[in-house]
Symmetry: C2
Subunit: 189 residues, 2 copies
């Protein structure tokens, strides 16, 4: 990611040579990527300070509340309140199953989750948050939420709404793109 964005005048100048270059579009495009990268980098640093990566944190979030509402040692099978198998987790997190194997590996090594065999299908596993994993989230989530509140504190409620609306439009546009992950081109039968 480029650290220093080209200034708007430079875009105007380059637009004379490239008819496809729309200065305001390029400006918005670059600002979007740059800002998100800044926000992301700080979050990443916070997570790293707590010894966890973004990928692993995402998995914990997906498992969150999967086991929390149960007080006793009731098996995981009750209540479909979140993804549980590695394949479901991979799909929800937007990574490959192979990557999820590695994420769950380290989470299990650190004691945040456990793998259990699925009683009904011996191909599958069930990933469950341990007490230690829950405790970690209970400790870390306030930090995370505080950060989100802090970074968005620059915006009023109305501005946040506007931002979400505009981002939603952009996101819809990406979903229409042929190279989009959410709308990959289906092969013709």
């Amino acid at each position: 990611m480029l650290k220093d964005l080209p200034r708007y005048e430079c875009l105007l100048e380059a637009a004379r040579e490239f008819p496809d270059l729309d200065p305001t579009a390029a400006e918005a495009y670059l600002h979007l990527l740059r800002t998100a990268d800044d926000v992301f980098a700080i979050s990443d640093a916070q997570l790293a300070a707590h010894g966890i990566s973004h990928g692993r944190f995402g998995v914990l979030m997906l498992l969150w509340r999967t086991s929390a509402p149960r007080t006793g040692d009731v098996p995981i099978t009750q209540g479909p309140c979140g993804p549980r198998t590695p394949a479901e987790l991979a799909d929800a997190a937007g990574v490959t199953r192979a990557t999820m194997t590695g994420l769950v590996d380290t989470l299990e090594r650190d004691g945040f989750v456990v793998r259990e065999p699925d009683p009904s299908d011996r191909r599958m596993l069930l990933v469950r948050l341990t007490r230690k994993g829950e405790n970690f989230l209970a400790r870390f989530l306030p930090i995370h939420f505080r950060y989100a509140r802090e970074v968005m504190g620059a915006l009023s409620e109305a501005e946040r709404k506007t931002l979400v609306r505009l981002l939603g439009k952009v996101q819809q546009q990406t979903a229409r793109h042929p190279l989009s992950r959410s709308a990959p081109v289906a092969k013709s039968a």
Copy 2:
């Protein structure tokens, strides 16, 4: 990056348990990261289709116009119109010098840039775009600009301006953060 964002009602519900959780802040935060990731992923796929990575593309962009205005074989040393040494490139691209070594390695292997010794300081090198590198940019940049125009086509000119303004506020907020890359905490003397 999580593929499916939590719905707003879920945030409201979780906010009852976590006083630090500001629902509208979390919503804007998640949308920002998610949208930028979608936009980025498509751009990445476009670059990959042309056999180049985002990191390498960034380097080419930094070198762009460094050599273009010269018609003959005038040496690079004339005109300070862009970063040239690996260290400058690394700083401008926001990566480490070690990473820049790898990026320039592959760019040089593919014939897009060349390394030349700096005549005035034998520690340094000068990285220069080759004709092949220029040709690649001339071919690819229109695609890239078209994509930026397309993805931002969902927004009116006024909306783009608003988006840039709101993102600017968020970015300023991140710059103030202690873990920010742009404002790392200086050790007290």
